[in-house]
């Protein structure tokens, strides 16, 4: 699974980075790298079975703290 993920991300990275460098879109390249790195890390963590925090749990806790729920 992890190997498959690495291959998929490598393919996406190669295609997009080449195209962005070719067009000289430097700002877009930086943004892409930031989002790409973040998505790669969380995908690898998810694939390796690490328990990632659920966003709904955070929202739920916040709403419970302010006593705002049905």
């Amino acid at each position: 699974m992890i190997i498959l993920l690495i291959i998929a991300f490598a393919a996406i990275g190669l295609v997009e980075v080449r195209s962005l460098i070719h067009k000289k879109y430097w700002r877009e390249l930086i943004c892409f790298c930031v989002f790409f790195a973040f998505s790669f890390v969380i995908c690898i963590l998810q694939a390796s079975g690490v328990k990632l925090p659920s966003p709904t749990q955070g929202i739920r806790t916040f709403l419970q703290t302010i006593h705002l729920h049905f």
Partner: protein, 367 residues
Amino acid sequence: MNGINEKIKASQLTFLIISFIQGSVLLISLVDDITKQDSWMSMVSGFVVSVPFILSYAFLAKRFPGKNLIEINDIIYGNTIGKIVSIFYLLFFLLLLAFNFGDIADFFNGYIMPETPKMVFIVVFALICAFAVKRGIAAIAKASLLTAIFTIAAVIFTTILLIGEMDFSNFQPMFESSAKEYLQVSHIMFCLPFGEIIALLMITQHMKNDKKLPRTMVWGTGISALIFLAIVVRDTAVLGASITIFSETSYQAVRMIDIGEFLTRIELLVALNYTASLFIKICVLYFVTVTGVSQLVRAKSSTPLILSLGSIVIVLAMVSFGSTIYRNEWGYKYAALFATPFTAILPPLSLLIAKIRKLPNTGGVRQ
């Protein structure tokens, strides 16, 4: 992104709104669980409450022609606060996107292919939607025409075939639920299916004639509310008290179609209907999130972000809800309240501030 500057007609936006709202059709089972045979009343009240808010979205977009929600926030709240408000909106759209991916995976995993892991449905669906987003909003709007017509035809067709199974005494006793439950369902209906069309304020700048926007938005929402009403009335009349037992009422109701042991297994039509409507809803939310993020970081092209954001959403969809019970509890208790600031508080507030500050102004003259 292809066709980023392509314009969409008012009629296309109407169909886009219908398909977008129908993407929340899985919510009906949740509503049935709370107000049981009285769900149709809460459905109507939810729509009536949502009309002024939907008009506020439309008037906001009409007041700032050619601008999307992020640009409107910048003008109304100033650069810094406007950006913060826009970031919250984009996070809201991103989470909605993840929840909808989770919904489609849950449905397929629960009813069509129980042995297949949810991840497979999410990844396949995400790839198809990424392709649609790359084609642009005009292509999605054109596809929504087909999905909206398909939805309306499927509801009419299944309702006609179920007439023999209907028992209108199933609507009695009326007013059985508590006032709090009616209020809860009306709030859920307003904030979730109807209020979520706030996302379309990110694409109204692509409209050919934005003067028709209020009428288009109310029409689209009205037709969707009628479809919801038809579904709720059909399901209640067919299933009666057992409506609360099933986790997917429309699917169960349509399962009962058996015309001469020949016309059976029509429930696949419902499954196709869900898939088509959710496809449009997910595509719109995906498009809105990608264009919003690229606009926020002032990128010239949003195409490179499609797959990166898509993979973040896939993980969010996987981790958001541990189980169906947890998902239902989120739907009952928290989802509408989570959406309230974005659908019920900020848009009317923005319109009010724009009116007080006489925005937009270009050297004192309104555009």
